[in-house]
């Protein structure tokens, strides 16, 4: 009897679009937190931007070939990150110029390809800024299923990946297969972008990766602690942002990013001042 009630309550939670949005958003925050820390430590903010902008091309290809959008976005992100990696190795341009060039070119190509497909009507705003309120139970399964795989892999490569982040040469000299862990990391990044696109859209994914991690930095003195803090800040931002968007009738994705920014600004207040206020 009790079981029945619980199941019914759970089912009704998933029935409510707002609850689904919060559960989905928190799921994404759980994955974005630790990966966002690596984005900050490795100074990959612009790299993340380039990858997420390429997601729109993934959307266009999915519509063109009638594939699942998440899988297509994941595949395009992996392809773009591999391309970036090989370009960075031999290119004449500096990394930041190369990334800036690619980030916006890929976004533009995606937009142009979508415009050519006159037979499909797409909610472009939804892809650019997220459509968290239309999350389905299938999306939730994807976020949590995919998220679990990403987190499990990340835990498995955590130590070598962190060592390679601190010093590539040191890690390599002491027998760590830096190429392998770096490659796995790129694939994980692509995975997060594929699931996070639905929540905040291609233009704001990097914000969800970076802002919670940057906020967590002030409160942590070891890497693992920072990753867990980033998850907490991300989840709080999702909750606050969605509540705010309901309250003030603002778009959900940008509201989440604004909430994350608020958390960051609060974290900047020196601790001594915070104590004095209390």
């Amino acid at each position: 009897m009790g079981m029945m009630v619980t199941v019914v309550v759970l089912m009704s939670i998933f029935d409510d679009f707002f609850s689904r949005a919060i559960i989905g958003g928190i799921g994404v925050a759980m994955v974005a937190g630790p990966l966002g820390c690596f984005v900050i430590w490795r100074r990959l903010a612009y790299f993340g931007d380039t990858l997420s902008h390429s997601a729109l091309l993934g959307v266009a290809l999915a519509l063109l070939f009638e594939m699942n959008i998440t899988i297509s976005v994941f595949a395009v992100s992996v392809a773009v990150s591999l391309m970036l990696l090989s370009l960075q190795k031999k290119a004449m341009l500096s990394s930041d110029a190369l990334l800036g060039l690619l980030a916006h070119s890929v976004l533009a190509v995606g937009l142009v390809v979508l415009a050519f497909m006159t037979w499909v009507r797409v909610d472009l705003m939804g892809f650019l800024f997220g459509d968290i309120l239309s999350i389905t139970i299938f999306d939730l399964a994807l976020i949590y299923g995919g998220g679990a795989v990403v987190v499990a892999l990340l835990i498995k490569i955590w130590r070598p990946l962190f060592a390679a982040t601190v010093s590539h040469e040191l890690a390599m000299a002491e027998g760590i297969k830096t190429d392998v862990v770096n490659l796995i990391f790129l694939v994980l990044m692509a995975g997060v972008i594929a699931v996070a696109m639905k929540i905040v859209g291609v233009l704001l994914i990097t914000a969800l990766l970076i802002i919670p991690a940057a906020t967590a930095r002030r409160f942590s003195n070891c890497p693992e602690h920072m990753a867990i803090m980033a998850v907490a800040v991300g989840a709080a931002s999702v909750w606050l942002g969605l509540r705010g968007s309901l309250e003030f009738d603002t778009p959900a994705g940008p509201s989440i990013v604004v909430a994350a920014l608020l958390c960051f600004v609060i974290s900047l207040i020196p601790i001594s001042m915070r104590h004095r206020k209390q």
Binding site: I40, W41, R43, P160, F162, A163, T165, V166, S167, E169, L170, A171, M172, A173, E174, G175, I176, R217, S220, N221, C222, P223, H225, M226
Partner: protein, 252 residues
């Protein structure tokens, strides 16, 4: 060039002569364009790089840094820190260390894993003279205790650590190699460096049979001239040459 277990080889040479590159080749961080490098399979190597910049955005304590690539017990970490007199820094963030402290922590990290092969790229930079002597003593201890092969890169062209078994002088290629002179007992040396220093430092006399010309070419030097100039003339007055060295390197 071969480095065996229990042997200390000191690499010297001017800036840009390929000392660090040789070290990275030995560790397998770089691949050789010419020549070949062979290492023992599953070599347990440890590395103290010349430069390591850690950004402030990395939350990393000294203890966590020591455990970066290898696992160890708390007691072993404490022992490794004590060996370089940095045990009071265990919980300090890496970004808050001074240059000399950072260098000693790097050395602690390298000895924590009990390596068979240890590469030290200018390990005494930023350390004061007394600290330098203490570190040389420590490096000698490490070699005696772990019986590991040590490749030490030194910034000083003439003064090397006395426990060195072999000195190799590089400038694009091996210019000369040999054992440091046992002058520690000479009074002149003692008065120059002090009693304590005399036991850990030694002089190295270059024996070059060629000169590096400004255009990068090499000219053979005749014997008489070499005998005179090796004592007084800086053998590296001229620039680098472009020869990246085709010799084989062997690490066991």
């Amino acid at each position: 060039m071969v480095i065996e277990r229990g042997e200390i080889v000191t690499l010297i040479g001017p800036n840009g002569s390929g000392k660090s590159t040789t070290a990275k080749l030995a560790l397998g961080v770089l691949d050789a364009d010419e020549g070949a490098v062979s290492r023992k399979l599953q070599l347990n190597a440890s590395y103290v790089p010349q430069k390591l910049k850690l950004h402030r955005n990395l939350p990393l304590s000294v203890t966590r840094f020591l455990l970066l690539t290898k696992r160890a017990e708390k007691r072993q970490v404490a022992d490794a820190l004590r060996a370089t007199q940095t045990e009071h820094l265990a919980d300090v963030q890496m970004s808050n260390l001074s240059g000399g402290e950072f260098q000693r922590v790097l050395l602690s990290r390298a000895i924590l894993s009990s390596p068979e092969f240890l590469v030290l790229d200018e390990p005494v930079q930023g350390v004061d003279f007394n600290g330098e002597l203490a570190l040389y003593k420590l490096i000698e201890d490490i070699r005696n205790r772990l019986d590991c092969g040590i490749l030490l890169i030194s910034h000083d062209l003439h003064v090397v650590m006395s426990a060195t078994d072999r000195v190799i002088c590089l400038n694009g290629h091996v210019c000369c190699s040999g054992t440091p002179d046992a002058v520690a007992s000479s009074d002149e040396f003692k008065s120059l460096f002090g009693e304590r220093a005399a036991s850990s430092l030694a002089l190295y006399k270059h024996r070059h049979d060629h000169e590096h010309l400004p255009d990068g070419s090499i000219r053979a030097r005749d014997e008489d001239l070499a005998a005179v100039s090796s004592n007084s003339v800086d053998p590296f007055a001229n620039g680098n040459d472009g020869d990246s060295g085709g010799s084989d390197v062997d690490f066991r």
